[in-house]
């Protein structure tokens, strides 16, 4: 049996020897507990009690350009007060942290986002406050946000790098010379203004649950991701389009935040029967269309009961294709085979070709 604690100690020792112990960066020195002393090592990992591989490496370069750069580790991992420490508890993203917003003087918390999420279709509790069936399947912050697309990456002249482009921030620095205000404010604002996330990656986040056959079975859902990928929207995104709607564009009411997605049965949801038309006609999309356009069925599974028109059309085309192609491919096959023995036949027709000539002459005379 694998000894978890022992493995952790071995890995820790190994990484310390390989990496060398020392305070290499100024950021590390500033840390109250100097967490990076251990967590800077790429090999820092263990197999947890459930047999899952856990990696504890922190890429400080990424962290320093991420949204939590002004937080100390301890601001979120409140239960850790010494090193070496025991396995840390899960972070509660709704707790108030020590950050003061640059725009005002209020202390920051993600609590209101968590409240919005709990009221949405993704909330763990139903309208009466009771847990929904398969409560554990419903997402919380990290289920979506712990995805590669949330890495702080800047693209300048087609080259992707961590953090802020020096060229982009130079303008801000021309006035905001002191401290980190320019960096913090620039990061805070631009990460929200720009659509920095590729639609493909957003689809991958949703696919984590909605393309999982077991998950869909448990919740009696159709595979929303595969069916979406069958539409022109999905296909254009696969080919690199940046102007085509992804999941969020249709499932979030225009102007609302992404955490407020609701079931299509809720009257205020973007995909409710009465609102779908407005969703399609949202700015930059099908502005000239009639709300009837929303009658287009996006998530078609070709199920006979649910989508009879699509099912029978598909069957019709498949049958037609099979008949035409099998007939002609068989013909080609036999024609090639016929060339093997061109003169052979079970019954010979040795009538001379002259009778054809006579027939033709007779026809010409008749005319």
């Amino acid at each position: 049996m694998f000894n978890n604690k022992l493995s952790t100690i071995f890995m820790l020792c190994g990484s310390l020897i390989l990496g060398g112990i020392g305070l290499e960066s100024a950021e590390a020195a500033e840390e109250e507990l100097n967490c990076l002393l251990c967590h800077k090592h790429r090999g820092l990992s263990r197999i947890d009690e459930k047999g899952k591989f856990r990696l504890f490496y922190i890429n400080n370069e990424l962290f320093e350009s991420g949204p939590h750069r002004r937080n100390q580790c301890k601001d979120c991992h409140k239960d850790i007060d010494r090193i070496p420490h025991r396995p840390a508890k899960k972070v509660d993203c709704t707790q108030q942290c020590h950050i003061v917003e640059p725009s005002g003087e209020q202390k920051f918390s993600h609590k209101h986002i968590a409240d919005t999420l709990s009221k949405s279709v993704h909330g763990k509790l139903d309208a009466d406050g009771n847990p929904k069936p398969h409560e554990e399947d419903y997402p919380f912050c990290k289920d979506c946000h712990d995805q590669p697309l949330y890495r702080p990456i800047q693209v300048y002249k087609g080259v992707a790098k961590h953090g802020i482009s020096e060229r982009s921030i130079a303008r801000c620095r021309s006035c905001h010379r002191d401290g980190n205000f320019a960096e913090d404010f620039y990061e805070h604002v631009t990460s929200r203004l720009h659509k920095t996330r590729f639609s493909k990656e957003i689809i991958d986040v949703c696919a984590k649950c909605h393309q999982d056959p077991e998950f869909n079975k448990r919740h009696e859902l159709d595979d929303a991701v595969t069916t979406y990928k069958e539409t022109f929207h999905g296909k254009l995104i696969a080919l690199g389009s940046q102007r085509t709607p992804d999941c969020l564009d249709c499932h979030v009411v225009e102007g609302e935040n992404n955490h407020s997605i609701e079931s299509k049965l809720v009257v205020t949801s973007a995909t409710h029967e009465d609102n779908r038309g407005r969703t399609c006609m949202a700015s930059d999309c099908h502005q000239k269309a009639d709300p009837k356009l929303a009658g287009f069925q996006v998530h078609v599974t070709y199920d006979r009961e649910k989508y009879p028109l699509e099912f029978y059309m598909l069957m019709g085309f498949k049958a037609l294709m099979a008949i035409v192609l099998y007939f002609f491919l068989a013909l080609i096959f036999f024609e090639l085979m016929r060339r093997l023995f061109p003169k052979f036949a079970f019954f010979k027709d040795d009538k001379p070709h002259h009778h054809v000539i006579e027939e033709e002459k007779a026809k010409i005379k008749k005319k």
């Binding site: 080919l239 102007r243 099908h286 287009f296 002609f328 013909l331 060339r339 027709d349 054809v356």
Partner: protein, 273 residues
């Protein structure tokens, strides 16, 4: 513009060639296959967007911004050609058939119908017997291949394939293109139907063209690497004997060459590699 006169038989390098298609018809075929190839190249990466080859090919053709525009231009050309050819065919039908009936004062609905079915591209009873005869031949029940007229049933199938494909693909393409405008007049599910019609009929058309039509004109041993009739408009004597024996005999008799008529053979008997 008067129709250019084509000799029914010409000689080149000691080989006899038989007239098949006018320059006007050959030009229409060039426009047809060019637009179809462009449509297939700009359409199939989208249909199979998840395949590894799709994105590089689509990017080469202009990517998600330009390739759809090229696709729509090619589609417009193809639809225009479809309309043009239909008018061309109606004019030809009038010149070669209806006017004769008018001149002879025999224009009745029955005679009109008879003339309609006497056109060389219209399928008839002989085609049905030719198909049965061909299968008898392919399964070694007879040593004689069918004697096709000027247009064999396979050519008629090839000819009518666009007449069945374009009325399905074209309107569906227009609906998907002008979806916002058309949504004012039709329910949304029409777009689902148009999507299936456009993508699945396109697959059938392309598979048929690339496997069956290209076998007939490219891959078949006696045609490889490519038949020339689409360029020259003339078919060699060997090919005439193999593919259109009834018409070959007729043309030879009409031109007083009945003594030189060769017996029927099948291409497998003497390849010219």
């Amino acid at each position: 513009m008067p129709t250019p006169k084509y000799e029914p038989i010409v000689y080149k390098d000691g080989v006899r060639y038989f007239y098949r298609f006018s320059a006007h018809q050959r030009l229409q075929h060039i426009v047809l296959f060019t637009s179809v190839l462009v449509l297939a190249l700009t359409g199939f990466p989208l249909r199979h967007a998840d395949e590894a080859w799709a994105k590089p090919l689509y990017d080469m053709l202009g990517g998600t911004e330009i390739a759809p525009m090229i696709h729509r231009i090619a589609g417009t050309v193809l639809l225009a050609l479809f309309v043009y050819h239909t008018i061309y065919w109606m004019v030809k039908f009038y010149q070669n058939h209806v006017r004769k009936l008018i001149d002879e004062k025999r224009l009745t609905p029955w005679n009109f119908t008879k003339e309609f079915f006497s056109q060389e591209m219209i399928p008839n009873k002989k085609d049905f017997y030719d198909i049965i005869h061909l299968w008898k031949y392919l399964l070694y029940f007879t040593n004689r291949p069918p004697r096709h007229d000027r247009m064999s049933w396979r050519e008629k199938f090839d000819y009518f394939a666009p007449y069945w494909g374009i009325p399905i693909l074209g309107p569906a393409g227009v609906i998907l293109w002008w979806r916002d405008e058309i949504s004012h007049y039709v329910p949304g599910i029409v777009f689902n139907a148009a999507y299936i019609m456009h993508t699945d009929e396109a697959l059938l058309a392309v598979l048929f063209l690339f496997f069956v039509h290209w076998y007939n004109v490219h891959y078949a041993p006696e045609k490889f690497p490519a038949a020339k009739v689409w360029l020259t408009g003339y078919l060699s004597e060997d090919e005439m004997i193999h593919e259109h024996y009834a018409d070959y005999v007729k043309v030879m008799v009409e031109n007083g060459l009945e003594e030189e008529i060769q017996p029927q053979h099948f291409a497998g008997e003497h390849y010219k590699w």
